[in-house]
């Protein structure tokens, strides 16, 4: 048993950190966040050249063929750098395709020539597949991330009462921005009118593909949230060391110091949970992996909010300014808290597994 990155995983992660530090410093993040779509094609191409979008795509399909721990390591660095744009959306769509047993578009995604997203939520804003009400390819989807820059969408819909997944080119879809708190990952409303698309899966297969895709996306998101928390912690600690009031660095006052300690505890615990879940996606049974994912997301959703709150508070007035980077992280943290189900949603998912279908003991339990 070894809970820690292997040498090659560590190198991958360090490379990613260097890559984002040089290609996507905060000045770039600010610039891109103020564009219409918060997507920068040049950055995306460079990321693709590193193999990032294809990290878990099979080598035969042009990907790196690595595991979800590697995906988490990348996502953590993107979270730390606050990399804007459609990485997570594209990864989610790719996971749905792969989980449905298809290979369509995967090579393009791995090569960086194709971007994608998943259109799932409707006006009910419910993450429960039962609440997918759209019939066929006519209707409206909401809160679709990065739809404006996606080349195609994986669309969850209902046909003859059954869940179905379609691959639909963005083409002529009517896409409207839904301006929200997070400036670095944009949401859209997408209107379908007898849209054309390829059936990816239906019924139980669709449900399973979707569940898997959301589990993969949620793990990547949890790792990303961990990176964001780490950055907010680093910013706050740095400020606490240098800012002086009453003749001492404010980090010497326990109100501040203990808040920093709590931030560390939450960040490290989120990290443990995210990587455990990433490992479970590759190495545990599907229900165990889903459990690990919900554990990670329920915890990280609360933790990233609390870490963000402390990061703003510790910096006082400075933390509340636009000039300070914290609020960009804070905004994304709020969006991430909600995306793919908030803490209460995932706790209920855990309760369902615990109460309603006793799990086999986990590895050490």
């Amino acid at each position: 048993m070894q809970f820690g990155l292997s040498e090659s995983q560590r190198i991958l992660k360090e490379n990613a950190r260097r890559f984002f530090a040089s290609e996507c410093p905060m000045s770039e993040v600010r610039r891109i966040a103020q564009t219409e779509t918060a997507h920068d094609e040049a950055l995306w191409r460079k990321m693709a050249a590193q193999g990032f979008p294809g990290v878990v795509i099979a080598e035969e399909a042009g990907g790196l063929g690595l595991g979800h721990v590697e995906l988490a390591a990348l996502a953590e660095e993107m979270g730390r750098a606050l990399a804007p744009g459609g990485f997570l959306s594209t990864i989610t769509a790719a996971a749905a395709i792969a989980a449905a047993g298809s290979r369509q578009y995967l090579a393009g995604i791995a090569a960086g020539t194709v971007k994608a997203t998943v259109a799932f939520l409707e006006s009910s804003a419910s993450w429960d597949p039962e609440d997918v009400k759209m019939r066929g390819l006519t209707g409206e989807k909401r809160f679709v991330p990065d739809a404006a820059t996606a080349d195609f969408l994986v669309v969850a819909t209902r046909e003859s009462g059954e869940l179905a997944l379609y691959l639909v080119p963005r083409g002529a879809l009517q896409i409207t921005a839904m301006p929200a708190l997070d400036l670095t990952r944009r949401l859209y409303k997408v209107r379908f009118e007898n849209a054309g698309g390829d059936l990816l899966a239906r019924g139980e297969a669709a449900r399973r593909a979707l569940e898997r895709a959301f589990d993969v996306a949620t793990v990547a998101l949890c790792a990303e949230m961990t990176g964001g928390m780490q950055k907010m912690l680093d910013i706050a600690v740095e400020y606490a060391k240098t800012r002086k009031q009453f003749g001492r660095p404010i980090g010497q006052y326990q109100a501040v110091q203990h808040a920093c300690a709590d931030m560390l505890l939450w960040t490290e615990s989120s990290r443990s949970a995210a990587y455990y879940a990433a490992w479970a996606l590759d190495s545990a049974s599907p229900p165990e992996a889903s459990m690990a994912v919900s554990i990670a997301k329920s915890y990280a959703s609360d933790a990233c909010r609390e870490v963000g709150n402390r990061a703003v508070q510790i910096q006082g007035g400075m933390g509340f300014t636009w000039e300070n980077d914290t609020h960009f992280y804070y905004r994304r943290a709020k969006a991430s808290e909600i995306a793919f189900g908030d803490a209460a949603y995932h706790r209920e998912r855990i309760a369902r597994m615990v109460f309603d279908q006793r799990l086999a003991g986990t590895t050490a339990g």
């Binding site: 939520l121 804003a125 909401r142 809160f143 409207t176 921005a177 839904m178 301006p179 929200a180 708190l181 997070d182 409303k189 002086k244 009031q245 009453f246 003749g247 001492r248 404010i250 006052y253 326990q254 109100a255 501040v256 909010r305 709150n309 703003v312 508070q313 006082g316 007035g317 933390g319 509340f320 300014t321 636009w322 000039e323 300070n324 914290t326 609020h327 804070y330 905004r331 709020k334 969006a335 909600i338 908030d342 209460a344």
Partner: protein, 392 residues
Amino acid sequence: MDLNLNPKERAFRDEVRAWLDANAPRDWAARRQAEESLNARFTYLRQWQRKLFDAGWAGISWPVEYGGRGASVIEQMIFLEEMARAQAPPMANVIGLGLVGPTIIAFGSARQKQAYLRKILSAEEIWCQGFSEPNAGSDLAALSTEARREGGYFVVNGHKCWTSYGWVADRCELLVRTDPAAPKHKGLTALLVDMHSPGIEVRGLRQMSGECEFSEIFFRDVRVPVEDVLGEVNDGWRVAIGTLAHERGTFGAALHVTYRRNVNRLVELAREMGRDGDALVRQKLAQCYAEIEIMRFNQMRAFSRIKETGVPGPEGSIQKIFWSELNQRLQQVAMEILGPYGQLAQGAEDAIDGGEWAYGYLRSRGNTIEAGTSEIQRNIIGHFVLGLAKSY
């Protein structure tokens, strides 16, 4: 103990309510959503305050001789609650009415009272408060803006920040260092500064919510007549403490009305979303409801005490902590109930209430920082109320 209004207070309440029913503009909520310039909006608020002043509603608890009504702080509280109830626009001169005016009443010279108080009430002169500096936030006494005496003037140089209404103020209660050699609390002086004086530059300070609610103010050789010293030279700390006690103790007086309205709206939204049967939602909303009421009860107790003692005491920090942290909890509950819709910002077609909730969530982060951080409030309670040794 009698929590009913007495006959005089009830008559006052009825009079305010009737007047507001007849006179309060109904378009304030809509105006806030509208794309109107800050200046235009502020002019509107100034006119509204003038109307209130003319009707005798400005400075409820201020002495009659300076244009006030000479009533008690209880009537003042009732008035603020009625304003909030009627969703009337706020008065323009928030800092002048709540902070500077009471401080001038307590510390000002006869001339200053005559010169400034009435114009605060009529909104003829808008005030701001120049206390915080980049290196003096919580540690206010560390401020470095200095004023040198030159003949009949003090000459001010320095840099203030986080000044509410700085961009529109005519005058400023400015805290400066007049004796650099004295220990840090001892060498300060409060000045009443004309913001139109040469050498003053005001810049907007953009917040995380995107707005520029606060300003930075730069002073370069700004001349202030010595007659505009408030209180005594080098006794500015005592004056500032008086101002801050008002900020903590009475500023939140009517917030429970606003909070209650927000929670009632959430109850309505929860019902519309079919979540009114959800045990979690019910618990959260009930908790909000209870805490808002308790804030109101605390406020009633505090005002009863102020009525007896004449001034807000250090226990006012309880109110400050309560309203600021409660609002953060309320905004979070709103986010939890509204789900993905909560994060939609102004301009989004499907945003609930025009994106007020997303804005309110971000804005609430400032509540525990502005008007004295929660940490400072707890220091005040620890030291000045409970008698523990200073922790800073």
